[in-house]
Amino acid sequence: MKLSNIMSRQNRILLRELVVTDFKLRYQGSVLGYVWSLLKPLMLFAIMFVVFVHFLRFGAGVPHFAVSLLLGIILWSFFTESTTQGMQAIVGRGDLIRKINFPKYIIVISGTISALINLVLNLIVVFVFMLFDGVHFTWSLLLFPVTLFVIYSFSLGIAFFLAAAYVKYRDISHLWEVFLQGLFYATPIIYPLQMVVSIGGQFAAQLLMLSPIAVLFQLARAQVVGHEHTITADQLFSNPIYLALPYVIVAGTIVLATVYFRKSQKYFAERV
């Protein structure tokens, strides 16, 4: 994995073909085809909106919570999809790995890219919702792509780690599934962070905001619906160590995952 040829011509060709193939195969045989990747999060959103916002009154008094909820669900779908698909990428393409030598990270990247395509399509829906909900656009929206990039990098890092570990320990997939379920509830997605502050107090909210996913999701929401409606990490912590910690976790994950993946990739063909 020399840095210079990470995206060499040959690798780009291969990545493109793998992504296109994934894309074609995903919704093959379904009538609505790719519309499903838009419909799924929307339906999920509808259910959660009815249950949590309409009946349980989560987010009451928080302006534009519906948009926040939709954005949260879409980002979360991306996170689960990219990490799960990335995890299964190496094992799923075992037939290729056993017969031809090519950079293995390409497969992991291709697994996350189809999730990224979904995310971009879904963000169009969020945008439409924003218009309907009368969200005021602010300059901070311009920083939203940067936040997305960090979320993507973090997901990719996790995917690299999981993909390599999954070749050796197939239990990882079950473990990850449970972990994701836990993380879903530990992240302010279906409930606003304001609710945590008012019920559990400042400390509970601070605890949740040590998770990079919570920090990044809140930041993304603040950039989209406005800082005055979303509690971000800098409103909770004054100590810069706590502010930096999530980003250190992100960077550390990426570095360690890359090292681990590079170390184990030469045995993929034998073990997969």
């Binding site: 073909e17 017969k99 473990l175």
Partner: protein
Amino acid sequence: MSDKKEVAISVKNLHKTFKLPHEQHSGLKQLLVSVLNRNRKKGYELQHVLKGLDFDIEEGDFFGIVGRNGSGKSTLLKTLAGIYSPEKGAVQINGTLVPFIELGVGFNPELTGRENVFLNGALLGFSRDEMSAMYDDIVKFAELEKFMDQKLKNYSSGMQVRLAFSIAIRADADILLLDEVLAVGDEAFQRKCVNYFSDLKKNKKTVILVTHDMSSVRKFCNKAILIDKGVVIAQGDPNEVADSYSKQFIANNQTSIKKKHRFGTGEVIYDNMQYDLSDDIFKLEFDIINKTDQAYSDVTMGFDFCVNDEIVIGNDTRFIGKYKNGLKLDAHQRKHLVVKFKNDFGKHQFTLNANITTGLGMNVTDYMRSALQFDSNNVRYADAWKVLSHPEIIEVEEGR
């Protein structure tokens, strides 16, 4: 012009060992167990497949690698292709290399022929534009003009191989690795392969051919090595190497008599096995007997056909739709069965290893090595095992 040729591939003291886990399950439990039991028995066996190979392949060589099944030649090929990394020693490659461990790598049955061409092409390093430029030629050569928009799963195996081969021969690399590519397809296809080989030889490409077929070694190769149990035991002139290869079998034949025996748990066994060979059909007639008080619903019969004591082709009843989940047998029941194979056995002296298993292949209840011998004399295929991997079972009749 200089006579000195460049070295295309240099192999130095190459070692490769595989860890074979005793249990197939790979999981955290195993990790925990192996951590806790560090001092006890290890959970895997080490298999030393390549034990220090040394050889050079020069530019423009047509290099044959021969050896019996299990000699390590496929591992060597995969190591040369960079799929496995050497454990000790080194493989140095000068130039671009394209391996054909199998034709049609990455072919997906759910994609159309056309889509598969582009996917397979990308794996060989061709861009969309390059593939588009070659596309018509590929399709024409494969003779599949009318089928390209159909899904690959609707292709016959012959059509798939033709398509894969047409793409493969476009590969423009300095070094080509071919693993028994000739082992598939009908006669017309094999002729195409031979032409392709002749072209490669004419164009002074560096080709490494791994094969069982000594006639191709003699015909195409200018150098060859014979490996056995992970070491090179003969190298140099292809004719001499091919002779040593053939001698291995004669030597092996004399010892094979000792191995003739029968084993298994004895729960379900064969009785009265007979055969009848006609031009079209190889008919096998036998009884199976359940010796226990227990009924089985998942009995499978397997048939391996051997030439010179090596299994070359085989099939079992699970591949017949009706017996996919096994055959039912009541307690103490005796059942008479007739299994008819299509006679594509070529011209060989075969011995048959017949087995019965329960639990869909898990539990061997009867294994008869050299249950019977027969001389097939079908001239349609000279070497059956290069054409077939499974001798086709036409039907199974159940009596009583």
